[in-house]
Amino acid sequence: MRTIYADNNATTQVAPEVYEAMIPFFTVDYFNPSSMYDPARGTANVVADARKRIARRLGAADPKEILFTSCATESNNTAILGAAKANPNRRHVITTAVEHPAVLEVCKDLQRSGYDVTFLPVDGEGNLSLSAFVRALRPDTLLVTVMHANNETGVVFPVEQLSRLTKETDPAIVFHTDATQSVGKLPVDLGGEFRHVDLLSFSGHKLHAPKGVGALYVRRGTRMKPFMIGGHQEESRRAGTENVPYIAGLARALDLAEENREADEARIARLRDRLEQAIEQRIPCVQVNGKHAPRLPNTLNVSCHYVEGEGMLYQLSAEGICASSGSACTSGSLEPSHVLIALGIPFTAVHGSVRFSFSRYNTEEDVDRIIKVFPQIVANLRKLSPYWDNEKNVPRPNAGQESRST
């Protein structure tokens, strides 16, 4: 059975072109870019060239503004902790309730060490309120960290406006965005619409480069201290020997994504939309989370009322289909997704969410296959559910009316 991979917000297949671009730097040009002999100049040039290409693709003014890291989590830690460290007189941070844990947990850690953190709520579609954002800005605000696109729902935040409002209020506030899910999928122009963004994180493995490489854009003049110390690499802003093959791969992956972005994303959006419509037509009592918000073209997050997500994933997996869920049972904790809770998804549906996320390697046949099996998978579990009336194929009259008691 062919595997249908529909979990591209978790990670992606490495593009063959990217793999090709990396090969020489394992066994042939393996030199440390910091070394003095001639062959090492070659690898140093590879890193410099990658930096230049990535800077150009993102609209950065200077290649030096791109720091290479090991992953987006490191980029986020560096951005948030580095900004806090460099601005010790300010003690307030603004973020949102729906950030990835790589931002949310770092902010909570700051909170535990005495910082004041505002976690902005979202509405039922996953949108932020610009008014609430403006009211949260304070004289002692040091950092705003708001993701560009949400990993679970695909909802896109207006980073352009949020960063402008931040800088018009006080240019000394550092603005960071976690763009891990959007780089390569949405236009990111740090010289244009994103000209007020100081720090921007992303990683390779969401855009068909390998796991283990990421980047942090640091606008010239931004006050921040390094997170990784112990070496002079990256102009002493991120210590550690450069991961030459992966850096070469990251640059190739971003080139590929940007060269084909409009065509690829239009095609991917059609796949997603077709699946979304089919699910809405064929399965009763479903809701598409973030349906009316601006969304990534590749992401579909649906909640099926009265069933539990893990049982759906397990059956999908038995059909060779890879997807993910915000259900508590799949998270390793007992709490369902903090993102869906922040959206106020009713508790009859929050455990029954499934996320399908596509990439350029998905096909119409993939969608056909999901459409063929998914409605039956939901029906199978509803047959077992004490909240579903199988004769009428509707929820039981009392379902969801119980109070929160055992």
Binding site: R91, S131, L137, D140, T169, Y306, S331, P386, S405, T406
Partner: protein, 328 residues
């Protein structure tokens, strides 16, 4: 986190969702015993029903002949429900004998469960117990007199310790003893208590206190200080050292905002309303006025220009030269 289920668990789950013959999906109409445990809020819930072959004279000797379930929950919750029904039917038990089926028996039948899924087996055992209680009421069997300790009703009473899963102190105390739970992680894995917001872990009367009370306090062990204790005092004022606003405005913030609103009402809004537009003041921070154009002006191409040129100019002239208008 990939699935670490036993073959037996996977097989029972797939058989159940495909409704294969011999599976126990469903609800017995007019059952002799009816029990529920869990709720959709917690992420799993089970309805368990059974039918007995009635003993002509002594109801206590009724024998369970059929058991069914409806379960909302994950793969292992459904497999545990199947397992429970199979064990009950194959055992040929009286309802009182059936109470001997413990969650550990269900785990054993399934060939093991991952630690964080143990609560699925506990749900089965609790639903069974509640169904037996229900059978006893229907059949007029006095369980207490027979020396059977039944707890199905205790959940309704007692102080709630774990608010996320609505678990009461008597229930948690009993389960800690029954299942020999020694630590908070063990307690969470078995009965979910403390598994979501975690705020009940180290508060007075919380999980650690109940554990200490049950097993005695281990004085040598390191107490983990909950991170929340390190949080600064809420409401503590943080003095901003750099002040970024222009010099202190001479008016109080209240007087200032009133003056801004008045100027907008008198000079700005009438002009906008004439064209079907409107203006909302979102916030005022010192001399920064955050505004949003509404009505016909919202989203119009010249909106920001209008704000900057017209509104800011007017407010500068009428209120204070230091004012800046920011479009939201």
């Amino acid at each position: 986190m990939a699935w670490e289920y036993s073959e037996k668990t996977k097989q029972l789950f797939m058989a159940a969702v495909h409704g294969e013959p011999g599976t126990h999906l469903g609800e017995i109409e007019d059952p002799d015993g009816f029990g529920e445990h869990g709720s959709i809020v917690c992420g799993d819930a089970m309805r368990f029903t059974f039918r007995v072959k009635r003993h002509p004279t002594d109801p206590a000797q009724d024998v369970i002949v059929e058991a069914k379930y409806l379960t909302f929950g994950c793969t292992s919750a459904i497999a545990a429900s199947e397992a429970l029904c199979i064990m009950i039917e194959e055992g040929g038990y009286t309802p009182i004998q059936a109470l001997k089926v413990q969650n550990s028996d269900i785990v054993k039948f399934l060939g093991g469960l991952p630690d964080q899924k143990i609560h699925c087996s506990v749900m089965g055992a609790e639903a069974l117990e509640s169904a037996v209680f229900n059978w006893a009421q229907r059949r007029g069997v006095d369980l207490e007199k027979l020396g059977v300790d039944i707890h199905a009703e205790e959940q309704a009473e007692g102080r709630i310790v774990c608010k996320c899963f609505s678990l009461s102190e008597p229930y948690i105390r009993r389960k800690i003893k029954e299942l020999n739970l020694r630590t908070i992680p063990e307690t969470t894995n078995a009965i979910k208590a403390g598994g979501a917001c975690m705020s009940c872990h180290h508060v007075p009367g919380g999980l650690q206190d109940i554990l200490d009370d049950t097993w005695g306090k281990d004085k040598d062990s390191l107490r983990i200080v909950p991170a929340t204790n390190l949080r600064s005092v809420p409401g503590r004022l943080v003095e901003p050292v750099e002040s970024r606003s222009p010099e202190q405005l001479s008016l109080s913030p209240y007087q200032f905002s009133k003056k801004v609103e008045k100027a907008i009402d008198q000079y700005v809004r009438p002009l906008l309303v004439k064209d079907g537009g409107d203006l909302e003041i979102v916030d005022i921070k010192d001399a920064l006025i955050y505004c949003r154009l509404g009505g016909a002006c919202a989203g119009c191409a010249g909106a920001n220009q209008t704000l900057k040129m017209m509104v800011e100019r007017t407010l500068k002239d009428m209120v204070d030269q230091r004012i800046r208008v920011i479009a939201v």
